[in-house]
Structure formats: structure tokens, C-alpha cells
């Protein structure tokens, strides 16, 4: 009993974080732009939406802005029209074969159906040094109240940073393709609740956008002119992705200083933890302006960048810690994005 009492006294369970209901002012519907054009293969996408009230998903929906006229103009006056597709409202794509050229400047111009005109400030395309190698590091993240931590693999980009210029880097991941192992023999008929083993199929190839959890950006202040390694991406292990092989393209962009500053603010906000050392919230202003009303706030950023890309295959043996393999008790083809045939260029 005494021991228990002492334990209670000694405990340090002070701080806690919990969801909190606050009265948030009704959101403004601000035009938001997101998009990047680069010198890699297209099509490149620009998305336009309107902001909504902060709070639960039910309080406000971020609505796409459709039917706008979207053009990209380079510094020689050449104009490229972007097309909105049927099944992806609010997303506008460059025509086939369009690539940004190193050294050129581009501006994005938008006219909405209401007739409002927006333009970006010019963005210059800078070349991106090649990704020399991608190394991997298994990362585990302890989770409160769980014995098994979350885990995944961190992608580390090795580059030779050019010494003669200031470089700002931004990394993204392509959708991954991974071997998906299923157990159709364990299939259970949902209505009769009786085992109904299927003969096919055990192994598929699944294409999936994993997202990136966080933004990966860097500036060369600390490594100008060096061969360096920088964390550039993260793929979480969900128990299915790393059962055999996984393929991903790491895309590296050389962005402008202004774009970097913007992304750093986004990253700062996305990673806010509520700790006592958090910086106060900052206004994230992008490079878009309204030509009709200079005081109108336009959110988001239009980027033009040089791209370099590296394709890697990650084998399960590359990971030092893996989640317990998940079981899909069905034909693997029923999983979204899965197909029985590997992509034509699957060359692990």
C-alpha cells in the first residue's frame, strides 16, 4: 500500500494535450493555388480551390474552383493553356509534352468564371543537381499506449551540392508500387459467414499514393558545395507495403528562395505540436496576387523548378524493423490500385 502511495506521489503525469472546442471565426473563402511545373515529363498540375472555416470537416468544405481559364506564360511571352479534366475538378493540367525550361521564368495567370483575374509573381527555373544515391533508414516512432511503435523507412538523398549557387531543395515522392501478398484461401463469404476459399490471386502489384507525412525541404546554407545526405522522404510501413519489394521515385526540385520560405512556413505549421516553444502562428503568404483588388488575400504558391528524379526498389531486407505483416483474406485484385501484372518497367 505504501509503495503504491509513493508511486502516486512520484509520478510526473502533468502535461496533457486534448482536443478542445473553440469558437473559430467563420472562414473566409480565399482563392488557394497549388502547383509546380518543372523540366521533367508532364503533365504538371495546378489546382485551384477556396478556403473554408477551420474546424471539423463538417463545418466547411474546401471547394474546387472549376471552369477557370488557366495559362502559364514564360518570359518570352509564350503562353500555354491548361485543361481541367472531367474527373478531377479544380485540377488543371499542362498539355502533353510541356516541360519548363531551365533558366526561363514563368508566371501563372488565372481568370475565374466570375471574371476575377489572378497572377503569380514570376518564378525562375533553376537546375537541380542529380540524386547520386538514395539510402534508407528505418525509423520507429513510439506511440503512447502501444507496445509496437509506428515505423517506416526514411529516404535519404545523396547529392553533390553546387558550390557556386544558393540552392533550395524540395522533395516529393511519386506513388509507390509494391508487391501485395494476399490470402484468397482465407476468404469468408460475408453473407453466409462460411469459409469460401478462392484459388486466385495471391500476389499483386499495388500502386498507391502514400503521401509524405511531412514536407521535406532544405537549403544549402549548411552544406554549400558538399556531398551531403539529407532526409528527403518517408514511407510508413502499414504492414502491407514492405512484404517483398516496393518501388518509388524520389523527385527532387530546385525551388526559388521565396518558394522555400513559403514551404518552410507550411512545414512549420504542419509540424506544430502545441509545445511551449512553438513559434506563434505565422501568416502564410504566397506569390499569387489579385489583379482586380490588390488587398485580396490569395493563398498558396505557384512553383517552377528544375527536377531530378531517382527510382529505387526497397526490399524487405532493407528494413531493420518491420510491422507484423497484415493479412488480406481475399483475392489481391480486390484491393484498390492492385493488378496481377507488374508495371511494364518493373525491374527490381
Amino acid at each position: 500500500m505504501l509503495r503504491r502511495l509513493i508511486y502516486i506521489l512520484l509520478l510526473l503525469p502533468m502535461a496533457c494535450i486534448d482536443p478542445f472546442k473553440v469558437e473559430v471565426p467563420e472562414g473566409q473563402q480565399l482563392v488557394t493555388i497549388e502547383g509546380i511545373i518543372h523540366n521533367g515529363p508532364g503533365p504538371h498540375a495546378i489546382s485551384i480551390s477556396r478556403s473554408a472555416t477551420y474546424g471539423s470537416v463538417f463545418e466547411g468544405l474546401i471547394r474546387p474552383v472549376t471552369g477557370a481559364t488557366v495559362v502559364i506564360r514564360d518570359n518570352e511571352g509564350r503562353i500555354t493553356f491548361l485543361e481541367e479534366t472531367e474527373n478531377s475538378r479544380g485540377n488543371y493540367f499542362t498539355p502533353a509534352g510541356f516541360r519548363a525550361e531551365i533558366g526561363k521564368s514563368y508566371t501563372l495567370q488565372i481568370q475565374t468564371v466570375e471574371g476575377k483575374v489572378y497572377s503569380s509573381l514570376p518564378e525562375r527555373v533553376l537546375s537541380s543537381p542529380a540524386i547520386e544515391n538514395v539510402s534508407l533508414k528505418t525509423v520507429t516512432i513510439p506511440v503512447e499506449g502501444e507496445i509496437i511503435p509506428r515505423s517506416g523507412v526514411q529516404l535519404i538523398s545523396e547529392i553533390n551540392d553546387p558550390a557556386d549557387q544558393k540552392n533550395f531543395y524540395f522533395w516529393r515522392l511519386s506513388p509507390v508500387v509494391h508487391v501485395l501478398e494476399a490470402r484468397p484461401d482465407l476468404f469468408v463469404n460475408r453473407e453466409t459467414r462460411t469459409p469460401a476459399p478462392k484459388a486466385c490471386c495471391y500476389t499483386c502489384f499495388r500502386t498507391e499514393a502514400t503521401g509524405n507525412q511531412s514536407l521535406f525541404i532544405a537549403q544549402d546554407d549548411n552544406f554549400n558545395g558538399l556531398t551531403t545526405r539529407i532526409p528527403a522522404g518517408f514511407i510508413e510501413d502499414n504492414g502491407l507495403r514492405f512484404v517483398s519489394k516496393l518501388r518509388v521515385d524520389l523527385k527532387q526540385y530546385s525551388i526559388s528562395q521565396e518558394a522555400f520560405r513559403f514551404l518552410r512556413l507550411v512545414k512549420q505549421q504542419a509540424e506544430i505540436s502545441g509545445s511551449i516553444f512553438d513559434p506563434p502562428p505565422a501568416t502564410i503568404r504566397g506569390n499569387m496576387i489579385s489583379l482586380d483588388n490588390p488587398d485580396e488575400v490569395v493563398l498558396g504558391y505557384f512553383m517552377a523548378a528544375g527536377e531530378s528524379s531517382k527510382r529505387i526498389y526497397i526490399d524487405k531486407s532493407d528494413l531493420t524493423f518491420r510491422q507484423i505483416a497484415g493479412i488480406v483474406p481475399d483475392d489481391c485484385r480486390t484491393v484498390s490500385g492492385a493488378s496481377i501484372d507488374p508495371p511494364f518497367d518493373w525491374k527490381p
Partner: protein, 800 residues
């Protein structure tokens, strides 16, 4: 014959003169040479058990309405006419001594006073002098003796100096884990915190959960929040002057305290009997053990260590001369989930010489050296690095005091200091060369000040104090300073050139006159009204993007871009004591005007930044408030109520519209908390049991809410526009404590058990509300409560 005996005793030495109980007979003091006027009686008061000097004890001469306070050495001096007097000696927590004397010539009294621990039912929480608040001309100076602070409920098992001050009117803290104080709408960096005269930059352990000063080695703390005496300068809001205890020159003794979070031990005694004493104190936390024993994986992989240590050598080598050396150190390290360790360390040395050159002229000289450093150590395995940074202060002060009479005094002097800041050095520690070492340019600044202050009374009713301080400041090379295009905001993009300044070359100078004045009118012995004005300059700025002092914050000297902060403060106060000083009340009103306060551009990068001018914007500030205070000093129930209504506002107007914050309108500063109420009570249940309670309420601090959400790169983001337009919910908390004194056999067994519970009803007071798009839930607001549950602690202390 009697005279000869007296003479003999006088020459043998004062030890034999020591009195413990009240003398039944009137003593004849002094050598009778037929002197009628100007008889000088000096003396010293010590603790009867430990031999420690009692600083701030009162000596009353009722016949003359004269009250004297003993100095840091426990000494006092009376100038009397030849007559009979009934002297009274009083000290907080000690038995009062009535001491009838006949003064016939210059003489000396040495007295030992007994602690009243087990004798008295009443608690007395007078400061140094029961009527000081009415009679003194200085405004807004609050001295808390450790005896007063001990009556408050302890925080995490210990009494806490900084938190105790925050219970007073006009003094607040941002939240539960924040170090430093906000005094009358000023920032945490606007207070000069000095320990034995040396500046301390980070006064906290564990990010502010504990104060980095060991209360067992502190004698008293004085906070000047309104009219700061002219001998202090260099910060624009307030001065927090912490004085260490001197050890006993007669006997060895000490204190030991163990609580469930930390333990401390202090020992003091004579090195050379009656001449040189030493006091050493050490405090260490064992929180780390508990962190490791918890099951929460994040917590388990975290560590938190701290310690602090003190050494005081004091040498009252004669009645006229006293030397004191003080060393203070504090250390912290903290690792959250094991990758990155943050550590910080304070070190301060000071040497003080006090001398009474004549009965009217006294001198005080002080030299100090302080070093504050912090480090961030990244051992994540990729691009490992260390960042080190430090601030060095070296300086000296000299002042002379001349007393024309008891009520007419002059103090004048000067001080000088050099501050060297190494703002940051990044050292790669990985095996491969993957990142570049980087060093932010060092900064050197010199501050010098001369000052003069005259304090006098005209009759009983009027008191005046006026002073002037002249500060000069030089910002020195070596340094590369950028030039920026005019008519454009200062940014990396608008830089047009650089100038190289050589070592010691003057880059920029500033100077300023800081007048101080206060006036007092007494209606009677128990009530007075006071007016005050002062102006202060500050040449160093805390560059911090958070609302508290973080160990990773950067301190920056004023340079050609960042001008010194200037504060003007006007204050009025009415003071009234009732029932023979049992109740003390005051109302104070102030208005403060601040110039060149630092604000930040959105998303500013502050660490390892060579061109801080590109991230900072000067702001103006103003603060005003009314402070009400009622204190009960005596009786079984003691305590106080303090209520403050105040505002602290900021405004940023620049020539460039895009840099203005909130479109150039006034907005609340991060620590603007209009209503602030504190209730403190201590009830003596019996001779050895007391209970105490603190209740605090304040308006929630300002916060910025998002005005919209938008998507970018898969993140649901918040769009913030205007700063600090909303508030976190109001703060309130009740703390309770019970104290039991055990009387055992022998000194080692007389102990104090203190059991306390913080946040009794477990309110989750939000430190912050933040907005996050967490995985698996919609983007929403979250509340961070630092102290979200009732938190018990137990401590045991003994005096030996």
C-alpha cells in the same frame, strides 16, 4: 567599580555581551566621557543558535520614533542623545527583545535573537520593516524575505522565488511552464535578474517548472517594478535583486531538504571564527529516474536533469569592512525522445567590498563575471551536429553613499560592463563531412553609466527622491555589417553591400539620460500617497519567437539596426496601514510607454541567423494598470489579496505596409492578461501545524485563431491573419499545503514535513490552444495543459 567592570567587558569583546533574554536591568551603554549629543551606538544581531547575521531586523527607539534596519552583516547604528531608551529588536520569526539602555557614550551592543518556532502561535510576515511601505519614498520596491516566501504553499515540494513574486500585484507569468516574470506589461527580457550583483540570463530549471535559485541560500529578493533607483540600469522594466545569505561566523550548521522531485543540502560555518564564513549549497533533481520508470514510450526515452550550486564566502573582517565572494552555477539538460539534447548553464562570480569610511560616508564596490551558455546536440544519426552559444558579462560597480542625516542621503557612483555574445556555432559531429561548420558573428558591446540620487525628507510629511542616470553604449567590431537599399524592407534581397569593422572599432553608439523621481506625502503615520516617474534604457534584447524564455533563445545587442529599448513609467500610489500595521493596503496606478520593443516577421528564422535585422521589426508598446493589494501581516491567519487590472499592448507601424502587423493597429502582447487575482492565506492551526492555500485567477492569454483552412501539398493548413485577437480560456488554480513541524531529540530530528497539492481540482488550464491536422481526425483545435491534474508533492526538511 561598576564602571571599571563595564569597561573591562567592553574591551574583552562583544561575545560576552551577548544577550539572549531581555535584560531585567537597564544597561548603561558606552564609555562616559560626558558626551551629551551624537552618541553613536552600533551593534550586530545574530541568530542565537546558528550565529548567522540577521539581515533586515528592526531596531526601534520608541522615544525618538526611530526605526533602523540591520544591514547585510546584521549590523546597525544609532545616533542618540544622552538619555534612557527602551530599545526594541524585532525580526520575522524571532522573539522580540525589549532592551532598555542608558546611552552615555559611543558603544556597542551585540545581540542574539532566538527563533520563536515553537513558542508563538502567531505568524508574522512583515518584510524588513513594518511601516516601510508608508514611510519610504521609493515606489514599487517589494522585498520578500525567505521567511515570507516560506509561508506560501510550495511548488513541487519547494518554495519558489520567482513564482512567489508572481503572486504580487503587477507581476505575472505567461503560464505554468514559463520562466521569467512579466512586470507591469514588460517582457521577460526587460527584467534584470541579478544574483549577488551578477546578471543571470536564464533563471529557470526544466523550462520554468522550477526556479534556478536554491531558496536555502537566498537571504532576500527585492523587485523594483516602478521607480528603480538610479544605481540600477540596463533593463527597461524591472530589477530583481537576489542576495545570498552569509554563513555563520560562529557555528557550523545547515539545511537539508528532500522532496519527491529534488533534494538540496546547504552547509555553512566559520572558516576563521568571527572573521570568515563559508556557505555552500547544492540542489539536484532526480526526475530522470521517474521518467525512465514510466511506461509512456516518449517519456521513457526522454531525460531531464538539473542541478544548481552556490558558494558564498563572507569576511566581515572588521566593523568597517566586509568582503563577500559569491559563486552561483546552474545546469540543465533535457532530451525529448532521445534524439536531440538541449542543455544550458549559468555561472556567476561576484566579489563585493563594503566599507564604512566614516560614520557618514560608505562605499560599495563590486566586480562580477557571468557566463551563460546553451547547447543543442543532435545525435539522430544523420547530419549530427552541436550548436553552442554563450553570453559573457564582465563588469564592475562602485558607489558611495553619504548621509547628511538620517533623512537626507546621497548615493552616487558609476558602473561599467562588457558583454560578449557568441550567438551560435554549429559544429558537425558526424563521421562523414555532410554539413558545414557555421558560426554566427560574435557581438561585443560596452555599457557604462554614472548615476546620482538624492533622498530627503522635509518634516514628517514630505519625502523626495530624485536621481539621474546617464547611460552610454558602444557596439564594437570585429564585425561585417550589411547595408540595405533604402526605401525597401530590410531583407536578404535588399542587401547592397557590406562594411568590415576591425577588432574594437566602434560600429554604433547610443546614450541617454534616465531621470528617476518620486515624491511622498504622508497624511499620518499610517497612510501616504506617492508619485513616481522613471526612464530606463536597455541595450540587449531577447530574440525569441515564443512567449517564454526558451533555452534556445538568442540574446542580441543593440546595433545600427536595432535601437535600444526605452521605457517611461508614471505611477501614483496610495498606501494605508490599519490596526498597528496588521493590515497593509495599497492602490497603485501606472502608465508605461515603451519604444523599440522587438517584434518578428512572420516565420522568422532566429537561430543561427547572421542577419537578424532581416527578421526583426521594431514595435512600440504601452502598458497601464491599476493594482490593489491587501495584506494581513500578523495573527493566526496571514496572507494577502492582490488584484490587478492591466493591459499590455503593442503596435507595429513601418514605412512598408506589408510589414505592419494587424494593419498598424494596437494589439495585445503575448502576456496581456487584463484581470489577475491572487488570494493567499496561511493559517496556523497549532504551534506546529499550519495550512496554506493559494488561489489564482487570470484572464486567458492572447492567441491567434485561424481565419480559414486551406490545402497545400496534402496538408490541411490554417490561414492566420491578425495576431492575438482571441484568448485561451481563463486561468484559475487552487493550491493547498500543510506543514508539520516535528520536535525530536537533538537538532537533527527537528524537521518540517510539507505536503502540498497543486491544482487541487485538476483544472486543465490551457497553456496554449493550437491547431493541427492530426492523422486520422479532422483539423481541429487542441489544448495543451502543462499541469492538467492535481499534483501532490511531499518534502521533508531539517535544519542542523
Amino acid at each position: 567599580m561598576k564602571k571599571i567592570l563595564f569597561l573591562l567587558l567592553f574591551f574583552i569583546g562583544h561575545a560576552s555581551w551577548a544577550q539572549i533574554a531581555s535584560p531585567t536591568k537597564r544597561e548603561v551603554v558606552g564609555r562616559d566621557v560626558g558626551q551629551l549629543k551624537g552618541v553613536k551606538i552600533s551593534g550586530r544581531i545574530t541568530d542565537a543558535i546558528t550565529g548567522e547575521a540577521l539581515v533586515g531586523a528592526t531596531v526601534t527607539v520608541p522615544e525618538l520614533d526611530l526605526v533602523k534596519i540591520t544591514d547585510n552583516n546584521g549590523s546597525f547604528e544609532l545616533i542618540l542623545d544622552r538619555a534612557e531608551y527602551n530599545l526594541q529588536f524585532r525580526y520575522v520569526g524571532y522573539e522580540t527583545i525589549n532592551y532598555p539602555i542608558t546611552a552615555v557614550g559611543d558603544g556597542r551592543i551585540s545581540l542574539r535573537m532566538l527563533q520563536e518556532d515553537f513558542q508563538l502561535d502567531d505568524v508574522v510576515i512583515f518584510g524588513r520593516d513594518p511601516e516601510k511601505n508608508i514611510r519610504s519614498t521609493d515606489m514599487g520596491a517589494i522585498t520578500l524575505s525567505m521567511n515570507t516566501i516560506r509561508e506560501l504553499p510550495p511548488f513541487l515540494g519547494e518554495i519558489d522565488i520567482v513564482r512567489s513574486l508572481a503572486t504580487l500585484p503587477g507581476v505575472s507569468q505567461v503560464g505554468e511552464a514559463s520562466s521569467g516574470l512579466n512586470v507591469r506589461g514588460g517582457g521577460v527580457d526587460q527584467n534584470l535578474i541579478q544574483f549577488a550583483g551578477a546578471p543571470i540570463y536564464n533563471p529557470s530549471h526544466m523550462f520554468g517548472l522550477f526556479t534556478a535559485f536554491n531558496a536555502d541560500v537566498v537571504n532576500d529578493v527585492t523587485l523594483y517594478k516602478a521607480v528603480v533607483p538610479a544605481r540600477f540600469g540596463g533593463r527597461s522594466s524591472a530589477i530583481l535583486d537576489i542576495l545570498p545569505k552569509a554563513g555563520s561566523i560562529t557555528k557550523w550548521g545547515g539545511d537539508l531538504m528532500l522532496s519527491n522531485y529534488s533534494g538540496k543540502l546547504s552547509v555553512n560555518g566559520p572558516v576563521i571564527k568571527d572573521k570568515v564564513s563559508i556557505l555552500g549549497g547544492f540542489r539536484i533533481s532526480y526526475i530522470n529516474w521517474f521518467l525512465n520508470s514510466l511506461s509512456n514510450p516518449t517519456v521513457k526515452n526522454s531525460q531531464a536533469n538539473f542541478y544548481d550550486g552556490n558558494l558564498v564566502i563572507s569576511a566581515p573582517i572588521s566593523d568597517k569592512n566586509e568582503f563577500t565572494y559569491s559563486y552561483y552555477t546552474s545546469y540543465d539538460d533535457f532530451a525529448f525522445a532521445s534524439d536531440t539534447t538541449i542543455s544550458w548553464k549559468n555561472n556567476a562570480h561576484s566579489l563585493q567590498w563594503k566599507s564604512r569610511l566614516s560614520s557618514k560616508l560608505s562605499l560599495e564596490a563590486l566586480g562580477y563575471y557571468s557566463l551563460y551558455n546553451y547547447g543543442i546536440f543532435n545525435q539522430s544519426g544523420i547530419n549530427d551536429f552541436d550548436i553552442n552559444s554563450d553570453i559573457q558579462d564582465i563588469g564592475g560597480k562602485l558607489y558611495l553613499g553619504y548621509n547628511f542625516s538620517e533623512t537626507n542621503k546621497v548615493v552616487f557612483g558609476g558602473d561599467f560592463k562588457q558583454v560578449n555574445i557568441q550567438p551560435g556555432e554549429l559544429i558537425p559531429t558526424g563521421t562523414q563531412q555532410e554539413i558545414l561548420p557555421k558560426k554566427v558573428q560574435n557581438e561585443v558591446g560596452q555599457e557604462a553609466g554614472v548615476h546620482f540620487q538624492h533622498e530627503f525628507e522635509l518634516g514628517e510629511k514630505f519625502g523626495f527622491s530624485y536621481g539621474l542616470r546617464y547611460d552610454t553604449y558602444r557596439y564594437l567590431g570585429a564585425r561585417v555589417v550589411r547595408q540595405y537599399r533604402e526605401n525597401k524592407p530590410v531583407s536578404d534581397g535588399s542587401a547592397i553591400g557590406e562594411t568590415n569593422y576591425s577588432d574594437g572599432e566602434v560600429i554604433q553608439t547610443y546614450d541617454g539620460l534616465g531621470p528617476r523621481a518620486s515624491f511622498r506625502y504622508s497624511f499620518n503615520k499610517a497612510s501616504s500617497v506617492k508619485l513616481g516617474y522613471n526612464k530606463m534604457y536597455q541595450f540587449i534584447h531577447l530574440i525569441s519567437n515564443t512567449a517564454t524564455i526558451a533555452p534556445s533563445d538568442v540574446w542580441k545587442l543593440s546595433d545600427n539596426f536595432l535601437e535600444p529599448q526605452i521605457a517611461d513609467q508614471y505611477s501614483v500610489g496610495y498606501y494605508n496601514n490599519f490596526k498597528g500595521n496588521i493590515f497593509e493596503t495599497s492602490i497603485e496606478v501606472y502608465y508605461k510607454d515603451l519604444q523599440n520593443v522587438v517584434e518578428y516577421k512572420d516565420g522568422a528564422t532566429l537561430i543561427m541567423q547572421n542577419h537578424l535585422e532581416t527578421e526583426l521589426i521594431p514595435a512600440e508598446g504601452r502598458a497601464y494598470g491599476i493594482e490593489l493589494y491587501v495584506k494581513k501581516n500578523l495573527g493566526r491567519l496571514t496572507g494577502w489579496i492582490s488584484y490587478t487590472y492591466s493591459r499590455s499592448l503593442r503596435r507595429v507601424i513601418t514605412p512598408f505596409e506589408e510589414e505592419n502587423i494587424n494593419n498598424g493597429a494596437w494589439y495585445a502582447s503575448n502576456f496581456d492578461k487584463p484581470h489577475d487575482l491572487t488570494l493567499i492565506g496561511n493559517y496556523k492551526v497549532s504551534t506546529n501545524t499550519s495550512v496554506s492555500a493559494t488561489f489564482a485567477y487570470s484572464t486567458g492569454r492572447p492567441i491567434t485563431f485561424p481565419e480559414a483552412k486551406f490545402d497545400f501539398s496534402g496538408n490541411n493548413l490554417a490561414y492566420f491573419d491578425s495576431r492575438n485577437q482571441q484568448r485561451v480560456p481563463d486561468f484559475h488554480r487552487l493550491d493547498l499545503a500543510a506543514n508539520f513541524k516535528l520536535k525530536g531529540k537533538g537538532r537533527f530530528f527537528d524537521g518540517d514535513w510539507t505536503f502540498s497539492v497543486l491544482n487541487v481540482y485538476g483544472r486543465k488550464n490551457p497553456f496554449s490552444i493550437f491547431f493541427d491536422d492530426a492523422v486520422g481526425s479532422p483539423p481541429q483545435a487542441f489544448r495543451l495543459a502543462i499541469l492538467g491534474v492535481p499534483l501532490p508533492s511531499l518534502s521533508y526538511s531539517i535544519k542542523f
